[in-house]
Amino acid sequence: MSKSTEEYLEALYTLTKDGEIASTTAISKRLKVTPASVTEMVGKLSGEGYVNYQPYQGVTLTPKGFKMAEKMARKHRLLERFLHDMLGIGKGMVHDEACAMEHALSDETARALCQTLKYPDKCPDDGNPIPPCDLKFSSCEECRKWRGGSLEKVDRRKASIVSISTLKEREEGKIAFIRGDNKVLRRLLDMGLTPGTKIRISRIAPLKGPVEIAVRGSKLALGEGIACNVFVETAVNQPREK
C-alpha cells in the first residue's frame, strides 16, 4: 500500500470518527493538497474498495478501509506518544514527525512500542484515543506474557471493537478487550467485566464524565479514563454510519 493511500485513510479516520461524512474540501485542507488531487485519489480508493464516494456528497470509509485506517491511526498516535514521552519532543512537533515515521513501522515494532509505553490510551497532542490493536487478546497482560515468537501466529480479531466511552446511552455490547495495567484489569474482572460479558450503557455523565453501565444485574460507574480502555463488540460491529 502506498504512503499516500495510508495518509488518506488516516485523515478519513479522524474526519469521520463520529459517523460524519468527510467532504473533499475538508480532506484537502487536512492533507494540504489541492481539491482536484483529492477527487482523483478518492476515486482511486473507491475503486480499491477502501471508501464510499458519491460526488458532491462526501466520503466515508468502507469496513475494509476502516480497519486499515484504524491501524494507521494507531501507529501514528503510538509514535506521537513515544516521541513525546520517551524523547521529550514538544507537542507541536510530534504530529509531523509521526506522519513521516508511521509508514515504516511494522506491526511487531508497534506492539513492542505499545508495551514499552505501558499501553497508552490517548495521543499527546490532541488527546485523541489510540485505537486498540487487532491481536486477539482479551487484555494487555496476555500480550505481555505471550512468548510465541512471530506475530503471524497470533489470531486477529475479525470484528472490530469499540471503546464503551464512544457508545451512546442504551447501546449494548459484549466485553472483548480491556487495555491497561494489571491492577485496573483485575479490579474490572472482579467487578464482573470478564470477556464475553454483556453490558449496556445506562447513563453517560456530561462533559466527558463517567459512564454508568448495567452489568450482571447491577450498575457500575466507570470514570472516563477507565471506560475508554474497555472495548466491546457491538451487535453491528461496524463503525456507525448515518
Partner: protein
C-alpha cells in the same frame, strides 16, 4: 484468642467475658460494600459503627460485643470488598483478619438485589474453608425490583445456612444470630463446600492443593485458597509461599501456563470468568425476576444523573445542607450560650489569678465546644447522614468525577469533602475511601481549605453580620475556586498517576431514622473524643499566655504581617495565634478585646472581609493537624499546614488590596 487492638474508627473494644462453657466466640461480618453489614453490626452490638449509602467507609474493622442468650460474642465488622485480589487496604485488612484471627464464624452479608456480584465474593469465601453463614439481606429492595429469591435452594446449593433479612427493619436478625452462634460453636461443619471450577482449572487446583498440604506450609490460609491465589498470580501470596517453598511456586507457574494455553486468556481472567459464570448460574437458579414498571428509585436515578437536573440536584443538596445547618445552628447556639452565660461568663478572662484565668480558659473551651458541636455540627451530621443513606451522594460523585480528576482525584473524593463542611477532622479520616496514599493526601489537602462550622461562625459573625450576606456567600464561592486552583498546584507537587473511578451505583432508598440517628451519634462521639480535649487544653493554654503577658509582644512581632501586609489593626495578631487552637476564637476573642459586640466600630468593612478570608484559609486547627499527623505523618502534615498558612497570608494580602478598591 487475642482480639486485635483499638481502631481510630468509632469503635469500642469492650472487655470480653467468656461464656461459662468454653471458648470465647468471635463472629465477623464480611461482604460487598453497601449491603448492610454495618446496619447488622449495629443490631448485633448496639454499637456505633458509621453507616452510609456509599461504598467503603469501613476501612478499618470495627468491633463490638453481642449479648445474646447468655453468650457474649465479639462481633467484627470487616470493610466491604468485592474480592481478595487488588491489594487495596480494605482487602488486605479482611484477608489478614480471616487468616490470622480465625473467627469462629463469618457472616457473609449479601445484597439480594445484586445477587450475582455478591455470590462472586461468597464463592471466594467458600474457597477459604471457613465456617460460614449467609445473610441474604435487603430482600425488600430486591422485591421492589421484582426479584424473589428462594433462600432454601441457595442453602442446598452452597451447603451453608442462608437467612433472609431486612436489616434496616430488624427482620430476621434474631434467627441470624442463632444460626451464626450454632455455626460458631459447631466449628467446621461447613468445610469442603467449595464450588468446583471447570475441569482444566479444577484438576490443577486440586493437584496444587495436595502439594501445598504435603509440604505443610502453614500459611494460615486454607490450602485450596492458596492454590487458587498462586494460579491467579497473586503477588502477596506468592511472596509468602516463596519464603517456604520454591518448588510450589514453580509448579504453580507451570500449571498457570497450561491453563493459559488452553483458554488463550490469563489464568486470573479464566478463574474470574468461571467464578462469575458459576455465580450467575446460581443466581438464575434461585431468583425469579418479574417485570416491574420503572420504580420511583429509577426515576430519581434518571433525574439525579441528568446533565442539567443532576447538577441542580447536587447544588440544592449541598447548599440546602449548609443552609439548614446555619439556620438551625444560629438559633440553637444563641439559645445555648444564653444558657451558659447564666452559669458563668464565657468571655475570655484577661485579668485575675493564673488559676482563675486557666479555669476560665478551660471552661470557655467546654462551652465553645458545646455551643459549636451541638447546634451546628449535630444538625449538619444528621441531615448529611440522611443524604448519605438515601444514596444521593453516589450520584453527586458520578456527576463531579471529571471535575475532581482535574485535581488528581476521582468522584468519590467529593464525599469526604462535603463532610469537611461539618468538621475537617472526621473528613480527613474518611479520605481512606480514596485508593492510594497520594489521592488520600490530595483529598486531605483540599479538605483543609473547606470552611468547617467553626470557620462558618467566623464568616457569619464578621461578614454576614456587619457587611452583607452577599459577601459571606461570595467568600464560599471564592473558596471553591481557591480549592480548585490549589488542588491543581498540589497535583504538580505530588506527581503520579491518578486512578480512575470504579464505583457501584446503589439503589436509592428511603433513609431509616434509626440508621441516621446512629450515624449522627457515631460521628458526634468521635468529635467529642477527638476535638473536645484539644479545645479545652488549647483554650487554657491561650488564656495562660494571655495572663503571662505574652500577647502584646506577639501582636507587635506579627505586625509586619497583620498591619503592613494584611492591612488589619494591631490587635488582630493574637487572633491569628488563637485561631491556631480554635478557629472560632478569632471571633469570640474580639468581644472582650474590643469590649463590644459591634465590631464595625473597630474594623472597616474591607478589614472584616479580609479577616474572615484569612481565617477561612488559615492554618488548620490543632485537632485537624493532629488528624493529619495520624494519617500521614509529620512531614506531610507540616507541609499541608504551611501551604494553608502561606496561601492565607498571601491571598489575604492581595484580597485586602482589592477590597479597598471595591469599597
Amino acid at each position: 484468642m487475642a482480639i486485635a487492638g483499638s481502631c481510630h474508627n468509632t469503635t469500642t473494644t469492650k472487655k470480653e467475658k467468656r461464656p461459662s462453657d468454653g471458648e470465647h466466640i468471635t463472629i465477623a461480618l464480611a461482604g460487598n460494600a453497601n449491603v448492610g453489614k454495618s446496619v447488622i453490626f449495629n443490631h448485633l452490638t448496639g454499637s456505633h459503627q458509621t453507616i452510609g449509602n456509599w461504598p467503603g467507609k469501613t476501612v478499618e474493622r470495627a468491633e463490638g460485643t453481642l449479648h445474646f442468650d447468655g453468650y457474649d460474642a465479639s462481633i467484627v465488622d470487616l470493610p466491604g470488598i468485592y474480592s481478595f485480589s487488588t491489594f487495596s487496604l480494605e482487602e488486605l485488612v479482611t484477608r489478614e483478619y480471616i487468616a490470622r484471627e480465625k473467627p469462629n464464624a463469618i457472616i457473609n452479608v449479601i445484597g439480594a438485589s445484586v445477587l450475582e456480584r455478591n455470590l462472586y465474593f461468597t464463592l471466594q469465601l467458600l474457597d477459604m474453608d471457613i465456617p460460614l453463614v449467609i445473610c441474604l439481606n435487603q430482600i425488600d429492595i430486591a422485591k421492589s425490583k421484582g426479584i424473589t429469591i428462594d433462600a432454601k435452594k441457595l442453602e442446598t446449593i452452597l451447603g451453608v445456612p442462608v437467612i433472609p433479612t431486612v436489616a434496616s427493619r430488624g427482620k430476621g436478625i434474631h434467627e441470624l444470630i442463632q444460626r451464626a452462634l450454632d455455626v460458631a460453636q459447631d466449628g467446621h461443619e461447613t468445610s469442603g463446600n467449595a464450588v468446583k471450577f471447570g475441569d482444566v482449572v479444577e484438576t490443577r487446583i486440586e493437584k496444587l492443593t495436595r502439594a501445598i498440604e504435603s509440604e505443610q506450609l502453614n500459611l494460615g490460609y486454607a490450602s485450596r485458597w492458596v492454590a487458587i491465589k498462586l494460579l491467579e498470580d497473586d503477588s502477596e501470596i506468592k511472596k509468602l509461599v516463596r519464603l517456604k517453598s520454591e518448588s510450589i511456586i514453580r509448579t504453580s507457574e507451570i500449571m498457570a501456563k497450561e491453563v493459559e494455553d488452553v483458554y488463550k486468556e490469563s489464568c486470573f481472567s479464566v478463574i474470574a470468568s468461571e467464578r462469575y459464570s458459576k455465580a450467575s448460574r446460581i443466581a438464575t437458579d434461585i431468583q425469579r425476576q418479574e417485570m416491574v414498571k420503572a420504580t420511583f428509585s429509577d426515576k430519581l436515578d434518571w433525574f439525579t444523573t441528568h446533565k442539567v437536573f443532576g447538577y441542580i440536584t447536587a447544588f440544592v443538596v449541598i447548599a440546602g445542607l449548609l443552609l439548614w445547618t446555619f439556620t438551625v445552628g444560629n438559633y440553637l447556639s444563641g439559645w445555648l450560650s444564653h444558657l451558659f452565660s447564666f452559669f458563668e461568663s464565657t468571655n475570655p478572662n484577661l485579668t485575675g489569678s493564673i488559676g482563675a484565668i486557666l479555669w476560665n480558659g478551660a471552661f470557655g473551651g467546654i462551652v465553645a465546644g458545646v455551643t459549636l458541636v451541638i447546634p451546628f455540627v449535630v444538625p449538619f451530621y444528621f441531615v448529611l447522614a440522611a443524604i448519605e443513606d438515601s444514596g444521593v451522594l453516589t450520584r453527586v460523585a458520578f456527576m463531579f468525577d471529571n471535575f475532581m480528576h482535574r485535581m488528581g482525584l476521582h468522584g468519590k473524593a467529593i464525599i469526604p469533602m462535603i463532610l469537611g463542611y461539618g468538621c475537617n477532622v472526621p473528613a480527613i479520616y474518611s479520605c481512606r475511601v480514596m485508593g492510594t496514599r497520594r489521592e488520600k493526601l490530595l483529598a486531605a489537602f483540599a479538605i483543609t481549605f473547606i470552611p468547617c462550622t467553626a470557620r462558618t461562625i467566623i464568616i457569619l459573625g464578621l461578614v454576614a453580620a456587619f457587611v452583607s450576606i452577599k459577601w459571606a456567600l461570595a467568600l464560599y464561592a471564592i473558596d471553591l475556586v481557591i480549592i480548585f486552583a490549589l488542588g491543581r498546584i498540589a497535583l504538580r507537587v505530588v506527581p503520579g498517576k491518578s486512578t480512575g473511578l470504579i464505583m457501584e451505583m446503589h439503589q436509592f432508598r428511603v433513609p431509616s431514622l434509626s440508621v441516621v440517628a446512629k450515624q449522627t451519634w457515631a460521628r458526634t462521639r468521635l468529635l467529642i473524643f477527638m476535638v473536645f480535649p484539644i479545645y479545652v487544653i488549647g483554650s487554657a493554654v491561650v488564656q495562660g499566655m494571655y495572663a503571662l503577658g505574652w500577647l502584646g509582644p506577639i501582636n507587635h512581632a506579627l505586625s509586619p504581617v497583620t498591619v503592613n501586609w494584611l492591612g488589619l489593626p494591631l490587635f488582630t495578631g493574637i487572633l491569628l495565634v488563637f485561631g491556631l487552637i480554635r478557629k472560632e476564637l478569632i471571633v469570640l476573642t474580639l468581644v472582650p478585646l474590643l469590649g463590644t459586640q459591634n465590631f464595625s466600630l473597630f474594623l472597616t468593612q474591607p478589614q472584616l472581609i479580609a479577616l474572615a478570608f484569612v481565617a477561612m484559609l488559615y492554618i488548620p486547627c490543632v485537632a485537624t493537624i493532629s488528624a493529619l499527623v495520624k494519617e500521614f505523618g509529620w512531614k506531610p502534615a507540616t507541609a499541608i499546614s504551611m501551604a494553608n498558612l502561606v496561601s492565607a497570608i498571601l491571598l489575604g494580602g492581595i484580597a485586602a488590596r482589592l477590597l479597598t478598591l471595591a469599597f
